[in-house]
Amino acid sequence: MSNRGNSSGSGSNSNISSSNRPEWLQQYDLIGKIGEGTYGLVFLAKIKSNRSKSIAIKKFKQSKDGDGVSPTAIREIMLLREISHDNVVKLVNVHINHIDMSLYLAFDYAEHDLYEIIRHHRDKVNQAINQYTVKSILWQLLNGLNYLHSNWIMHRDLKPSNILVMGDGEEQGVVKIADFGLARIYQAPLKPLFDNGVVVTIWYRAPELLLGGKHYTSAVDMWAVGCIFAELLTLKPLFQGQEVKATPNPFQLDQLDKIFKVLGHPTVEKWPTLAHLPHWQTDQQHIQGHKYDSPGLYSVVHLSPKNPAYDLLSKMLEYDPRKRITAAQALEHEYFRMEPLPGRNALVPPQPGEKIVNYPTRPVDTNTDFEGTTSLQPAQQASGNVSGGMGPHVMPTRNVPRPMHMVGMQRMQQQSMAAYNLASQAINPANIPMQRGVAAQPHQQQQQQQLRRKDGMGMPGYPQQKSRRF
């Protein structure tokens, strides 16, 4: 059994395990800091009573303006306490430290996220993500989103870094939607949605939002899924607009221009409510000025227009939100009925002979304690697999602009990567009823276990795994 000394590679933890930690923190062994955002810090920890289980602890700072627990944290807790789904991040605990008035959310830890997986393929292995993995990730993402949408929850901030994938362990390769800070229940809002401020990272933002639409729907999440799907295929953000930071309104001309270039201009004939969108009317000379009329989506994503993958993608990127495909409809799409069928373990294709990519584990800054105090020692590289569990919504060391910054972090070396060429699991979505609630799950898990296949061991050209686990 691994211990902390093992997984952090040195005894540098002594400065972390300070003895005057509050009682509720004593149940965890802190491994280190794995992320940082405007709201606070994210830590990796192990549960003392069950060391095989890793958790991510998101610490919310007390806001400086004297307004208590941030409404974002309240909203996230409120939703996560209600929901339960295989493809949604699991909130395992909430803790409050009354002394410094900080709030901690503990999640099952996920080793990977789509941001890192895409980046690894683009910058390290220089190779597309295999079809099975793309399809499995997309299916699970839609499955989780369908659960949220059928419960009237909009995520509103879907992007690759918010889509987590479980590392080594019994849930290996399972996709988890994370970061519900902007999510909301949309059945009976007290305020128009627009009052909540501008939402959704610009590259994944739906055109109705960019054009100033005020009453948007769950279709904005589906647009983001379309963008993510394309990015999984090409390893590049589909619409990489330059964000104009100064503007308080959601209107982003460059982002719209990037979309129009690929999809062609929207027309009132195809999208009747377009005429009512504020920016379509007020910025006519800019928006309606130059026309792009040759839609070239298929060439951007290198797919034949006859390919079902292309058909599904184009339905997600439908301009009119009312015509855009829903998560439930997308799950029924032909694409998911063709080989390779999507599976539960998105990282390990069931076909023997398929290449398995070893994704790097998350870097851990072992010199930061729960208070966020960093010691002056150089950052240690964590080695060994931080396995199992699910995770935080943030990642350090990005080379693309991101809302966070980490110091002294390095990526793991090859030999320390988790080995994934273990027993793989496949599910046939045609046999599996769509998950709509908690009650459906035990049955489904049983089904999945029956369908589990043991193959795909020891791929050529990849390091042999040190241990096998079943």
């Binding site: 208590g68 627990v69 309240i74 807790i77 209600e82 929901i83 008035m101 709030l103 007290l190």
Partner: protein, 251 residues
């Protein structure tokens, strides 16, 4: 789930009358009886309503705040958690949960304006500290379903749209009791419609019958509402003050 009552944490947390009517042992030591307990909660409901009118939040925020306050006192003592601090804090927390955030300093401003009694005067810092304690007391379950949700549809269906205002008022009054902790909110809404039908001498028997709900339950809630109105007439300021006096020691 957040929008399906039957899978929600609200449903799972519904309590029995006896559980709701248990006075905390610390409060009992101060001589607080069950009647005092109910009176204080009623008094605090009125406090939340008053404060809400000044900071201008909608009824749903008020209803959620009162529910938080009542839920908190099924687990915490009034001696340790001063209702005069808990009430505005619940309004503060509910305003965040219901996406109409009210600033703590605004609440403090109106508290000072409304009450000269210094026992009511709490500072921002104390509200923020209590906010975390309330979150803990609520076990972080924050989604609350209210009887208002399906009301207009029900009234239309029952052909009682002309009584909307009266029934809305009846529902508001149910928050002066603990009904929201005990019964599913749609049954509370139906009970209010039932009471209104009685008061207006409108025979809705056949409409209720075709609803396929537990009519015994609806009648039971209706009786409780009518009993409450009778009881409400007997409440005097002295009674409330006497109950509040038992809590005098501030933590």
């Amino acid at each position: 789930m957040a929008t399906d009552f039957w899978t929600s944490t609200h449903y799972k947390q519904l309590l029995d009358q006896e559980e709701v009517d248990t006075v905390h042992s610390l409060d009992k030591e101060r001589g607080i009886t069950l009647e005092d307990f109910k009176l204080i909660k009623l008094h605090m409901t009125n406090y939340i309503v008053r404060l809400a009118q000044h900071v201008k939040v909608r009824q749903r925020v008020v209803a959620t705040a009162v529910t938080y306050m009542r839920r908190a006192y099924t687990r915490r003592s009034m001696v340790e958690y001063d209702p005069r601090l808990v009430a505005p804090t619940c309004l503060y927390l509910a305003s965040k949960a219901e996406e109409s955030t009210v600033q703590a300093r605004l609440l403090v401003f109106y508290i000072k304006k409304l009450y000269s009694d210094e026992k009511y005067r709490y500072e921002i810092k104390e509200i923020l500290e209590m906010e975390m304690k309330i979150l803990e007391a609520l076990n972080y379950y924050l989604v609350v379903f209210h009887p208002y949700r399906a009301l207009s549809q029900l009234l239309q269906d029952a052909g009682m749209s002309d009584s909307t205002q009266m029934i809305w008022g009846l529902i508001n009054d149910t928050y002066k009791m603990d009904l929201i902790l005990i019964y599913p909110p749609h049954l509370i809404a139906l009970a209010c419609i039932y009471v209104a039908s009685m008061l207006k001498d409108k025979d809705n028997t056949s409409w209720f019958e075709q609803l396929r709900v537990d009519m015994n339950m609806v009648e039971k809630i209706s009786t409780e509402i009518l009993d409450f109105y009778d009881y409400h007439k007997t409440i005097s300021e002295e009674k409330v003050n006497a109950a509040m006096m038992k809590l005098t020691m501030r933590m």
